[in-house]
Amino acid sequence: MTIPLSGKDVASKIEEKFPGSVVESSQDNLVVKGNFLLDAARFLRDTEGLDLDFLNFVTAVDYYDHFEVVYWLSSLEHNHSLTIKARCYDRENPVLPSVVGLWQGADLQEREIFDLFGIKFEDHPNMKRIFLWEGFAGHPLRKDFI
Amino acid sequence: MATGELSIYNLVKFQAIPPDWPGGFWWHWLFFTVVVIGFVLTMVMGVIYIERRGMGRMQSRLGPNRTGPFGLLQPVADAIKVLLKENIVPVAADKIVHWLAPVIAFAPALMIFAVIPFENGALLADLNIGILYVVAISSVSTVGIFMAGWGSSNKYSLLGAMRNVAAVVSYEIPLVLAIVGVVLIAGSLSLNQMVVAQDIPFILLQPLGFLLFFTAGCAEINRSPFDLMEADSEIVAGFHTEYSGMKFAMFYLVEYAEAVAISAIITTLFLGGWRGPLLPPWLWFIVKVMLVFFAMVWTRTTLPRIRIDQLMAFAWKFLLPMSLLNLFITALQVLADWPTQLIWAMIIVNFAVMAIIILIWSRFFFRLGWGRIEV
């Protein structure tokens, strides 16, 4: 059985390393600040005991006032999983750091989020629309897209 | 004409013109031209039927069975359908080359049959250099195929055409060397003479030569597993991707006419041509051609396709040295007069030699292809 890691425990570890990076945490997940996302992700991947080396998926949820990008990580070695989230409040030009450098599996999924939600991932090697064509107006999975 | 004078009339002599034909040579010529064209077209229809039905049954389905009794008219229906299609020429194509290519590819396929005997002496031209003529003519269609690939200005076509040229150039050599073994034993270059010389089918005397010829022949005419010039899963259709209508029909015809031609040559060289008991000679000939073609269908149904570098490696590292060895051994045997004196010993020895050579080669010397290239 895959054990879901407690968001609170991991949050305290991250907070220790990067003070002020965690926005909130609960039993199921933790939310980190966008500018600390890359550091936190690297910490989660490389720390002994966590070893979250497998990125199951990346997705985004539109909560009208903010976007929440969800990273579902797991470790094949220890067989545990963790959900971390990052929020962006800028609807016009949302930006988050890309995690492609850490997990290459995020490549196509971040492009997909860019296409369907309009969240731009910085330092992504190929930030283009993936399903829709260039010049398509709007981002279909946003809640305000009809 | 003085002997020793180097002229085409001296090199190419028409032998065995039946003296009892009214009008002599010209009637003979006209009659056999009609026969050859008719033979090729009907045989092509026959082999298409065999291929489609045989392949269907081997793939656990029925194959075409709606047109005519047992679907026998399917090739006709195919032909009519293809001929009625619109003729599409890509805008970027080189129009003249695109137009000429099927013609240039088709003519040689038909010309090969000029020297293939259907019966003793029953052939259009009994050239004394018949087999040389076959070898020379059969590689001309490559020019047509390359023109098709180049002229249609399509990348798939170009890839297919280049693969085809590379394959034909490489496989011509083992093909010819395999023939030379037969020529040594028969002591003649005329195909009719070769058949006459086959009291025992040469497949028994030249088992390795037969295998080499069959493989190289398959590669020359793009039959599986060497069909990578028109590999449908890779480059769509290869050189004839951009062809449609009549021109496509020509290529389709070339493909099968060449297959029939190679089967006919194999029959003539290795399987005793028109010779056989009970049945009339021409029927024996057709039956043998069909059998050889069926073997090609069989391999096509079963085998996957090899890669271009493996194709080249197979020709140069495997077939070429083996055909040289085969030639060398055969030459020694002919020198020692085995084909006339010790025929059974020769059969046994040659089969043993085949097994040993293939075994040794596969075991110690041979690697196919080189794999990944750093980019």
Binding site: - | G54, G56, R57, M58, Q59, S60, R61, L62, W298, T299, T301, T302, L303, Q310, I358, L359, W361, S362, R363, F366, R367, L368, G369
Partner: protein
């Protein structure tokens, strides 16, 4: 490639294909030979029972495609709904079967007919009269096991084709 097996692999493959040449082909000739379809067949035609229908509209609510349109009026004398319009645009239907499952009064079935191609999109719209439960329209057993028993058993490839060895 090292010819580790000296062509034995190729020879094995060739025997498999040549054996199939002598076996029965596993295809059947469709317009002449017809197999029985599943007893629970979900086709693109619906059968509607006017007597059982109360006009509740559950089917229209469940339909994920919104292909069912139902208009009812009240019949004050008999104290029930009268279905004025009931039509299904089978062109939009994805044959999911949710409407048949949802119907609380067993008034909606799938039809067991399968050659229902039409020439125009408009003809795909099934009106009230087309959908009526008539004796000549066989009803599929989807979600109604008792109806399924009346239908011919499905022809299975497992049972039909015997391989000659």
């Amino acid at each position: 490639m090292k010819f580790e097996r000296y062509g034995i692999g190729i020879a094995k493959g060739l025997t498999v294909t040549i054996r199939h040449l002598l076996r029965h082909p596993t295809v059947n000739q469709y317009p002449e030979q017809r197999l029985n379809i599943s007893r629970r067949f979900r086709g693109n035609e619906l059968v509607w029972n006017r007597e059982k229908c109360t006009g509740c509209g559950t089917c229209a609510k469940t339909c994920p495609q919104g292909a069912i349109e139902i208009v009812t009026s009240t019949d004050m004398t008999e104290n029930k709904y009268v279905v004025d319009k009931y039509q299904v645009d089978t062109g939009y239907c994805i044959q999911c079967g949710l409407c048949v499952e949802a119907c609380p009064y067993e008034a909606l079935y799938f039809s067991h007919a399968y050659e229902c191609a039409k020439y125009r999109r408009g003809e795909l719209v099934q009106g009230k009269e087309d959908m009526l439960d008539r004796p000549e329209r066989k009803v599929s057993g989807y979600f109604y096991p008792d109806k399924a028993k009346e239908l011919p058993e499905q022809t299975m490839l497992v049972e039909k084709v015997t391989e000659k060895r």
